[in-house]
Amino acid sequence: MTADPTRLAEPPGATARTSGGVLRRLRKDWWIYLFLLPTVLGYGAYTVYPLVASWWFALLDWPGFADQGTFIGIENFELLFADGLFWNSFRHSLVFLVAAVPLRVGLALFLAILLNRKQTPFKGLLRTLFFLPVVTTGAIIGVAFTLLLDGGGPISLALVKSGLLDSPVNFVADTGTSLFAGAAVWVWKWLGITMIYWLAALQTIPQDVHEAAMLDGAGPGREFRYITLPLLVPFLVIITLIDTVGALNVFDLMYTLTAGGPAFSSEVIEIFIYRTAFGASVPQLGYASAAAVLFGLITMGLAVAQAVGLRWARRATGGMK
């Protein structure tokens, strides 16, 4: 994008942009800035400003949007660190990540490999089936699964009939299962899109690599282990990153499925923030902002870690060639 500075706005002959400096360039490029104006204004107000403002809000005791907050320094953070419910939600988000993300990434890869094979019949139909929940509203899926996972619902009934369960279980209303029920529904909903990512990744592998492996007598297992997998590592990092951020943004599904309950057993960080800021009768906007700041830092940390991982993976696969 930056390799060839095709400055089309410049009339021929005026290519020497040595002197005259910044002001003249700004004046000449005025229309460029006009083109950028909607994005700069919108992005500034709705993304960059919130990013900065959250830090300020986190230092306030602020009971509602109508009021002015009072500055209390880092007191919110001190309270947050001592708040068992915050750490509870923090732990749930981590458990959710560890349980659901590998399942989603792994199962999707498995499906994509099967659906990428020439011999697999009805690929289009199967792809559509797996993709259907992706286009469905998360809130609807949450509401629908409160019924499906109910003690009298079809999933519990089927498990009892097949002998896998002794008595009906309401997965959503049980403190031991609610978080994992949420994770399972989340994997179910988003598997299709991760599968499409993987299919796109698989299609970047040239066909002759596959043929060469066949000629060398490699079976499907060895071919996957030594050829496909190393080529997929950079994609693995980026797909895991996308899915991880998705897992942290699980609000709509979790909120409509369990609302964080029962007894906070499935409350993840986003629900904690929502409950503190908007769900309580006395809003604690400063306190919720402090939680949001910590949440943002965690996300950033994960993103940076994976970006480093991606660079490492690129170098490793680059070194192999």
């Binding site: 994005t39 919108g42 107000a45 509203t137 809130a139 609807i140 509401v143 609000f251 986003e270 929502y274």
Partner: protein, 292 residues
């Protein structure tokens, strides 16, 4: 005609060859079983929307309703206010998609084709904020909207959904525009067209494939989004979207599950229709966005 028959025959023989290998058949059956797990909740929801309240839980695993109760749909549509929620969703989705297309196309065009002071800063800001979770920004976004007096308005929700974020759309446009030959613009400039005419009459029409992708992806995003419309309409139930109205339904009519299922179907139909009509385009555009 003969060719069609021959094609059908070849396909039939092809299938026979595929299923002749037991491995292929096993794979297919396994995938089909998994596929049933993916479609079952939708069929169950459809069936629940046509059942009576006691029948939903009383009929066990049976999917066929004794007698389809179409009144469930009428009830969800009028009594609970889903007609209004539907209208709200259409307006908000349309406005959001339009805003995103216009501003991303404009920004993507200059980012993709020109060098200017501040470009690097812009790109760095985009990259840093790319993965920002919605829960992080929601409080300042509400505060800002409140100060602008836009809470509980369509414009407020549309700005909240379409003005920030959506870096991907801008980058898709930038990537596409940077690949177009520059002769296109040069000849237009010789004809005396200024940058605005070149953009509107030459570049924008050329970017149709990307516009389609951006429209599809953001239609999905705006139609299904939940947290922001929920928070923006807490004090004004009439402004709810379908997704938000669904939850309110649970609260106010906590026993009316058949009406709820019908409401869910009403909300699903437009998305499903768009998805099935544009299926190839959907999948291709997501795959393309990933490869970028």
């Amino acid at each position: 005609m003969r060719r069609a028959v021959a094609g059908g025959l070849a396909r039939a023989q092809g299938w026979r060859r595929v299923f002749a290998r037991p491995g292929n058949t096993m794979t297919f059956l396994g995938l089909l079983l998994l596929g049933v797990m993916w479609i079952y909740p939708f069929i169950w929801l459809l069936s629940a929307s046509l059942k009576t309240q006691p029948e939903i839980f009383g009929s066990g695993l049976g999917l066929l309703p004794d007698q389809p109760i179409w009144e469930n749909y009428a009830r969800a549509w009028t009594t609970v206010g889903f007609d209004r929620y539907f209208l709200n969703t259409v307006i908000i989705t349309g406005g959001t998609v339009l805003l995103i297309v216009v501003r991303s196309a404009l920004a993507g065009y200059v980012l993709g084709r020109y060098k200017f002071i501040g470009k690097k800063v812009l790109i760095v800001v985009f990259v840093v904020t790319f993965f920002l979770p919605e829960g992080y920004t929601i409080i300042p976004v509400v505060q800002l909207t409140d100060q602008l007096g836009l809470l509980n308005t369509y414009l407020g929700v549309i700005l909240g959904l379409g003005a920030g974020g959506q870096v991907a759309a801008t980058l898709l446009y930038a990537g596409y525009f940077s690949g177009l030959p520059k002769e296109l613009e040069e000849s237009a400039r010789i004809d005396g067209a200024g940058p605005f005419r070149i953009f509107a009459q030459v570049m924008l029409p050329l970017s149709w494939p990307i516009t389609a992708t951006v429209v599809i992806l953001n239609f999905l995003f705006a139609w299904n989004t939940y947290l922001l419309p929920l928070v923006f309409t807490l004090s004004e139930p009439a402004m709810r979207t379908l997704a938000v109205g669904m939850t309110a339904f649970v609260g106010e009519y906590s026993t009316d599950w058949s009406g709820l299922a019908a409401a869910a179907m009403i909300s699903l139909v437009p998305v499903m229709a768009v998805f099935i009509a544009l299926q190839r385009k959907f999948v291709d555009s997501i795959a393309g966005a990933v490869k970028q």
